[in-house]
Symmetry: C2
Subunit: 195 residues, 2 copies
Amino acid sequence: MKIAFVIYDGVTALDFIGVYDSLSRVKSMSFDKDLFIDICGLEHTIKDSTGKIAFNIEKVGYSLKNYDMVIIPGGLGIRRLMNDEHFISYIKTVNPEAQLVSVCSGSLLLGVAGFLKNKKVAANKKIFSCMTDYGCEVVDKRVMVDGNVITAEGVTAGIDLGLFLCGILYNKDIMYKIATQMEYQLPENFESELF
Amino acid sequence: MKIAFVIYDGVTALDFIGVYDSLSRVKSMSFDKDLFIDICGLEHTIKDSTGKIAFNIEKVGYSLKNYDMVIIPGGLGIRRLMNDEHFISYIKTVNPEAQLVSVCSGSLLLGVAGFLKNKKVAANKKIFSCMTDYGCEVVDKRVMVDGNVITAEGVTAGIDLGLFLCGILYNKDIMYKIATQMEYQLPENFESELF
C-alpha cells in the first residue's frame, strides 16, 4: 500500500496532520511497519495557510500514478491552485482507480481535475455551493465514501477520515486501538454509517 | 498577549497543530489580528515523532521569560529531554507567573522543570504513573486548569485545549465560532466543567 499526501502553499496544517497522525500510528504501533507514506508536492518546502508552519516535501514533482491512495488536505491555497494548470496536471497524474481522498476544500482540486463526476462527496460547509460545478452531489456528512472517492468535511473531520482509512485498509479493531491511543472519541454513528 | 509554542525533535505533530489551529484562527478570523504567536525551540529545524514532518523554529534558543503563555506539546522526544539539562534550563526561563500549558506527555517537561508542585494536571493516560514524581495530582479529565497551569490529556485533547484557550483569552462566543469553522464538536460537558 503506497499512500501520497499532496500538500501545497496555503494548506491548513490540521487538515493534513489530522489524517497523517492516525495513518502514521499504523507504523509506530507496529500494525504494519511497511505502510508506505510519501509527502508529495511541487515545491521543496511549502508553508501552511498561516505562513508560520513550513513543511518539507519528500517527493517533488514526481508523477502520482504509482500510489494506491492520494490524500489532498484543504486550505486557503486551494483557490489559487484551481486556476493553476501545472498543479491540476500534476493531480491528474493519479491512477484514476486509486483511492482519491480529500479533506475540507481539498475536494475542489479533485473536482477541477475531473474525478468527482456523479460522485457523492463531503466537503467544508462553506464550499458546498461551489462543489456542484464538478458534477457531484454534496452531502452533509463528516466522511463520505463513493466508490474510490473518499471525502471529509472541514478541518477536524480529517481525524475521523484518517481513522476510517485505518479501518478500511486494515480493520476496525486496529482503527479503535489507534483512536484510543489518540484519545479520540469517534462520533456515535461513525461505524454504522461507514462500515 | 504573547504565546510561545515550544517544540523539539520527536514532538507529536498533532499535539502541536491541534492547539495551534484554533489559536491561529483568532487572527485569520480577525478576532484579534495582533495575537502574537512564536514557534520556539533550541534547533533551527526539528522533526516530529515519525521523522517525516519537519518544522522550522522561529525563535531559536531565546529566553521564554517574555511570553504570557508557553505551550508544550507532547511526543516521544520528551523522554530524552527529561534528562537533557540544557533543555530543562531552557524551559525554566519561563516567567513562573505565565500561563503554562501542555498537551499529552508535554506535562512531563513542566513537571521536571518544577512547575507542577501541588497542581492538578491532565496528561496522556499512559504516563499517569510517572506524573506523581513531580508532586502533582493527575486527574482523568480532557482539559484541567489549576491556577496558571493548564494541561490536556492525549493528542486530540489538544484541539479541545486550543479552543478552551480561545475561550479564556477572548470569550466563549469566539471559542464557539472558531469550533464551528473547524467543524469540531466540543464534548457535552466542556463548558460546564471548564468555565
